[in-house]
């Protein structure tokens, strides 16, 4: 019992390839490591020499679960470089597309990846045998999100309509009206999902997270806002690299990000919610409070409820956007390339996604820098493992393994963005 090493060699129900290693000495956690061994794909290197117009299509391929996030950070960064600001219906359509991705990504995580932990199943498909209604509802909700993306983007994964300056094609008003009927159903389903997840049993695990998220004066953040933290950071995206360091550690093909002055931090739904509660739609605020969430949430297990609240907000926001939509005169504005630097951060489903590009005069990319949310969250996830797994050390090896996986899954890591599967080994001293 005194000294042992616990390995979860392959994390399951996460996106990408990763593993967990816990070292226990004298019955206490000595170290906790999240290992990421997803093969590196060198996007920042291969973007060099490509045209600025290609960045949204190429960076989308970093992640099949959140391609819209990559497309959004890419187009905003390019527009920042080229001195363009998109407004009106085109800006709204980008937010609508992002709503679709939040709904699709969160519904997948809630129903198929995370809920089986709380209800004691190996998969959402197994769970469907005894929780058929909840699984069907979750899948239909995911489908509603995908329908937004397919209508605006041409297909669900790696949409093809997003371009620097706007869209290649925008939807007709009547097409959105049809979508609105689906979304009214989805909003009710999201409300049901908040209630369903609020009924799960949550271990009493709270942490003093340092939260980092975007904050916009009026809106719950998708595409725009300043980067703020729970301890007073308040900077424009352009200053991100002045405050955040990325370092490479031997156990991971993803770089670790830390706040230069303050150390590890957490981005994603818990941070976004806790820093922006007042900007949620009234129906989402009310649902959150009735679900027993405060205006801040510091229990990572409850992130499943927070995601459900965000799905509800995204459905509500999507309906608001559709209600005021007027077809723009032009789907995109004209662009002149120039030698410039461009920076943007947007809120991917898993948190802050930072892009920076340096362009030469004809718009060729000279340098690219991308910081995905999971890279930023690695240190916070390891800290969760260190703090909370100690309470689970008396569990059987099988249950301890499940708890370790759940501690990671709480943060919905996207290892393709930054790792994939868990196997647990208990070895003697």
């Amino acid at each position: 019992m005194a000294n042992r090493t616990i390995r979860v060699e392959q994390l399951t129900r996460v996106e990408g390839e990763g593993a967990v290693k816990l070292e226990i000495r004298d019955g206490r956690i000595h170290s906790a490591q999240l290992r990421i061994f997803e093969p590196p794909r060198f996007f920042e290197a291969l973007l060099r020499g490509r045209a600025y117009t290609e960045a949204p299509d190429i960076t989308a391929r970093i992640c099949g679960i959140c391609p819209v996030a990559y497309q959004m950070s890419a187009v905003h960064a390019m527009e920042n470089a080229l001195g363009i600001e998109v407004s009106g219906p085109v800006r709204d359509l980008r937010r609508l597309l992002y709503c679709g991705e939040w709904i699709e990504s969160h519904a997948l995580h809630i129903t198929m990846l995370h809920a089986p932990d709380f209800l004691g199943f190996d998969s959402g498909i197994d769970m469907a045998r005894s929780h058929a209604d909840a699984v069907r509802r979750g899948l239909a909700l995911k489908q509603a999100g995908n329908e937004i993306i397919a209508l605006l983007g041409g297909r669900e994964i790696h949409p093809v309509t997003v371009r620097v300056g706007g869209f290649y094609r925008v939807p007709r008003k009547r097409q959105l009206a049809v979508l609105a009927e689906r979304l009214k159903w989805a909003r009710e389903a999201a409300l049901e999902t908040v209630r369903w997840t609020a009924g799960f049993e949550f271990p009493a695990c709270d942490r003093d997270y340092r939260f980092v998220a975007l904050r916009h004066p009026a809106e719950y953040p998708f595409n725009e806002g300043r980067i703020v933290s729970s301890d007073g950071l308040d900077i424009p995206s352009a200053e991100f690299e002045a405050h955040i360091d990325e370092t490479q550690v031997k156990r991971s093909t993803a770089l670790h990000a830390q706040l230069r002055a303050a150390g590890p931090y957490l981005t994603g739904p818990l941070a976004r919610y806790s820093l922006n509660f007042a900007r949620l739609s009234p129906v989402a605020q009310a649902a959150a409070l009735s679900a027993g969430l405060g205006r801040r949430c510091t229990n990572p297990f409850r992130s499943i409820v927070v995601r459900a609240v965000e799905v509800l907000h995204a459905c509500d926001e999507a309906l608001r956007i559709i209600a005021r939509y007027e077809e723009p005169d032009e789907p995109a504005c004209a662009i002149e390339p120039r030698a410039a630097m461009g920076i943007a951060a947007t809120e991917a489903p898993r948190g802050l996604l930072y892009h920076r590009y340096r362009l030469e005069a004809d718009g060729t990319i000279l340098e690219a820098r991308i910081v995905p949310p999971t890279a930023q969250n690695q240190a916070a996830i390891e800290e969760d493992l260190r703090r909370f797994s100690e309470e689970f050390l008396t569990l059987s090896p099988e249950r301890l393994r499940r708890r370790c996986e759940q501690l990671v899954r709480n943060h919905d890591p996207c290892i393709s963005c930054a790792t994939h599967f868990l196997r647990l080994e208990l070895t003697g001293p």
């Binding site: 061994f37 099949g64 997948l108 790696h158 290649y168 599967f421 196997r423």
Partner: protein
């Protein structure tokens, strides 16, 4: 926990990729639960906590081979699999990460990592078929979920999948879309790219960027002449042929005609 039934056993494996192709399976929302009835989803780590065990009747493989460990792992997957189908541009052509095949790997690593020595990777990203025999290759970046369901259904019925090998041009014609190349003078890879997406880019008034890879008999030289007549320069032609299917033979050869 495990079906000990006579249902065929399905496994889903991931190599270097974005997860988008296997996500296409989870995107078959209404069909997913029905699929779970017809086959035993025996190994699918992205969706289920279940160990590797025994043999699989059908293995779906996503991603390319880009590390020494993965080059070993794909052989072990092949040994366990009665049928092996590759999903998408990474698994059938090496994916966007195959752009490293045209560059200096050490320089690539140094551009991303401060300590390249910690990174164990191969100089190339290559297709699964370069390493083990493959029974069927499904194209796309990502795959089309209808085509994915067709491949699984064909497997269950022990027939050849009905996946057309003709070009995107035929999809434009059958949808009645005006030709973006001829009518709007936009660069389009549709004439040399395999159908399957439903001509979604031309439908959105943009040229095809070739994410389903080369069609059966691509006349890239002829298309290049048409694109040059539109005013495309060498560098633009290079980028056009060298993207998500850069390492597919026909696109690779054409891109090298416009190389540095």
């Amino acid at each position: 926990m495990h079906d000990r039934s006579d249902k065929p056993r399905l496994a889903v494996w991931k190599f270097a990729s974005c997860d988008g192709c296997q996500l296409s399976l989870l995107d078959c929302e209404p069909e997913l639960l029905a699929l779970g009835e017809a086959i035993e989803i025996a190994y699918f780590p992205e969706a289920a906590t279940r160990p590797i065990r025994g043999h699989y009747d059908l293995s779906l493989v996503e991603g390319s081979i880009s590390t020494p460990r993965d080059a070993e792992r794909i052989r072990a997957v092949r040994r366990r699999s009665a049928h092996l189908v590759t999903l998408g541009a990474c698994a059938t052509a090496g994916g966007i990460q195959a752009l490293r095949n045209f560059a200096d790997l050490r320089e690539f690593m140094a551009a991303v990592y401060a300590h390249p020595a910690y990174i164990h990777t191969l100089a190339t990203s290559s297709a699964i078929a370069d390493h083990v025999p493959v029974d069927f290759e499904l194209r796309g970046c990502p795959v089309n979920k209808r085509q994915l369901l067709e491949v699984i259904s064909a497997f269950l019925a022990a027939r050849r999948p009905a996946i057309p090998a003709h070009s995107v041009c035929l999809e434009c014609k059958s949808r009645g879309l005006p030709c973006v190349l001829v009518a709007h003078a936009r660069a389009c890879l549709g004439p040399v790219t395999q159908a399957g997406c439903g001509a979604i880019c031309p439908a959105c008034h943009r040229g095809c960027y070739g994410c389903f890879g080369p069609q059966e008999t691509p006349n890239t030289a002829s298309l290049t002449r048409a694109l040059a007549a539109l005013g495309l320069e060498r560098r633009e032609l290079l980028r056009l042929y060298r993207s998500f299917n850069a390492n597919a033979e026909a696109f690779r050869a054409e891109s090298e005609r416009h190389g540095e």
